[in-house]
Symmetry: C2
Subunit: 332 residues, 2 copies
């Protein structure tokens, strides 16, 4: 009698060839009882096998790919996220963000999280200075948050982070003692928040790891246009991960992580008014970034996601059902 | 004037959406001067993006995937090859082997390398004992190597490895001092070699890492049918990575790494003859495995690979050219 862990419902599997192995892997994975995971695996296996078949992937290339992915894991830790960087540089992060956080006007567009977000940023007061960097050009950041009906949204958790005047994030400093260039604020009762950042500068994504080697092999430059990251989070609203890019950066139209959107490019101005300078605790002449964020409600985002999912599945000729709010083909 | 690292030949890139990001990533990667790498990246990006689009991959799923792949790298080292195990359990390794080492009768079929091959196996003499395992059932392995015309092939480097009587490879022993259950022989002037292995037993692939978690989530059992691995290598012949599986293993038709082929299943017999026992230095009654390997020449394998590649590309409606012996579409 065969052991009990052998599925009796599956046909015996042997003599797999380039012609029949894919369907056999699908058969084995069809034992998965979670319909969404089953669908994801079906698509992953199909794409992986199709890739090997259509490229006739060589054993050496397979070995190089195994090593490349392994090394990406090995260079990663709590502060270095090389796998995210790979996803970013292949356009996957930007695409996943667009799928999950669809926007329609007047909602603020999202962009890539990037590999430099951390969870140790400290709470800070409005007006606080984000950076200890003494060489940077100070930038007063003055923002409002509204919903799509134009109503202010208070008590939004605003997580901000940016690199320093040399283009490095704190996590890239091997002697990092704690967070620098990052902080968490809350929007006030009128939906406003402000803090002192620095004028962001372009910077290369980390090139000393496997992803850097890949970009070099592809002949691609690593320089991101300067930007300040924002993550706006409040229950009932769709999470907004975005960034603002001062206009005129040389890398504005060739971002290696595919994150720039015209609506996120901002014109910096200058604090001219003494009253304003006093109000926000900066000197006259300080650079100024103002921006009005607009959040989608969770419900609005959910409806947009569902509508887009149904359209995408129908384009493949598939009827869709939803499982825990995620689409699976009806015939899965 | 823009910096010199910005490609002037590419159109400006901004406002990427789910509709246009894929073609823009292709455009940036089209700067790659290696036509084969350019083709591989084109297909990788297409499949990754299609996967995200057709599944509407959620941010949480993306994050889980990033962590899964990162952890696979982190658990890997010189002796543990978790990324190979992932490739094995998704049928990719078996497929890549079939693509790269196509066989036609009378050539011996290949199968997966698996994650347990090492490069520190010691040279051993014919008749040597592979294992120090005192609990194992000894197995005399008696083989010949011929070419497709039936001529013996001498001086083939024969790398053999197998698990112990409990189903563990030496590299799974945390106190491993050196190789055990592995060795390297050379075929003699008549193309023969022999050694003492043990009767292989079924064993679970390592389940204490991310791949084990995946198999559990998919409801798949981890047990490979027992086998002895062989790698046969000689310049002028196509590398043969294969394994022999004693008939009747309970997991013979549900191998989690998709490696079993009917032609690689062997019937064990017993050394009955005193003369034979004396000749090979074993006792009468020792279990016996005999097998005749047949190697393809490098030229035969190359022609088969090319023929299969042209057919596969033409099936996609593509004309093929070869670059360093690997196919790329003529319009790449």
């Amino acid at each position: 009698m065969p052991p009990s862990d052998i599925p009796r419902t599956l046909p015996p599997m042997k003599d797999l060839t380039t012609e029949n192995i894919t369907e056999n892997v699908h058969l084995v994975n069809s034992q998965c009882t979670d319909p969404r995971l089953r669908y994801l695996l079906h698509r992953i296996v199909t794409h992986l096998h199709d890739f090997c078949l259509e490229t006739r992937l060589s054993s050496e290339e397979w070995q190089a790919g195994i090593q490349f992915l392994t090394q990406i894991g090995q260079i990663s830790d709590d502060l270095r996220h090389e796998m995210i960087l790979l996803s970013d540089t292949l356009g996957v992060s930007s695409l996943v963000d667009a799928i999950n956080h669809p926007r329609q006007p007047p909602a603020t567009e999202g962009t890539v999280l990037g590999p430099f977000h951390t969870h140790d940023a400290e709470d800070m007061q409005h007006g606080a200075v984000l950076h200890s960097d003494p060489d940077a050009t100070r930038l007063l950041v003055l923002c409002s948050i509204k919903d799509t009906q134009g109503r202010p949204v208070d008590d939004v958790k605003v997580d901000v982070w940016e690199g320093d005047s040399k283009g490095f994030y704190d996590v890239q400093n091997p002697n990092r003692a704690g967070p620098d260039g990052r902080g968490v604020l809350r929007s006030d009762s009128e939906g406003n928040f402000f803090f002192q950042a620095i004028v962001p500068v372009p910077y290369p994504i980390p090139m000393d790891g496997p992803v850097g080697k890949m970009l070099n092999a592809l002949g691609r430059h690593p320089n991101r246009p300067g930007h300040v990251h924002f993550m706006l989070d409040k229950p009932g609203y769709d999470l907004l991960i975005t960034a603002l890019y001062p206009r005129g950066d040389p890398y504005e139209t060739s971002d290696p992580v595919f994150g720039v959107k015209e609506s996120l490019i901002v014109d910096l101005s200058t604090v001219e008014d003494e009253g304003m300078a006093a109000k926000y605790g900066v000197k006259v002449g300080t650079k100024l970034l103002t921006h009005d964020f607009v959040l989608l409600s969770e419900q609005e985002a959910r409806e947009l996601r569902r509508k887009n999912a149904v359209e995408a599945m129908e384009k493949q000729g598939r009827k869709v059902v939803f499982h825990k709010d995620l689409p699976i083909p009806a015939d899965n």
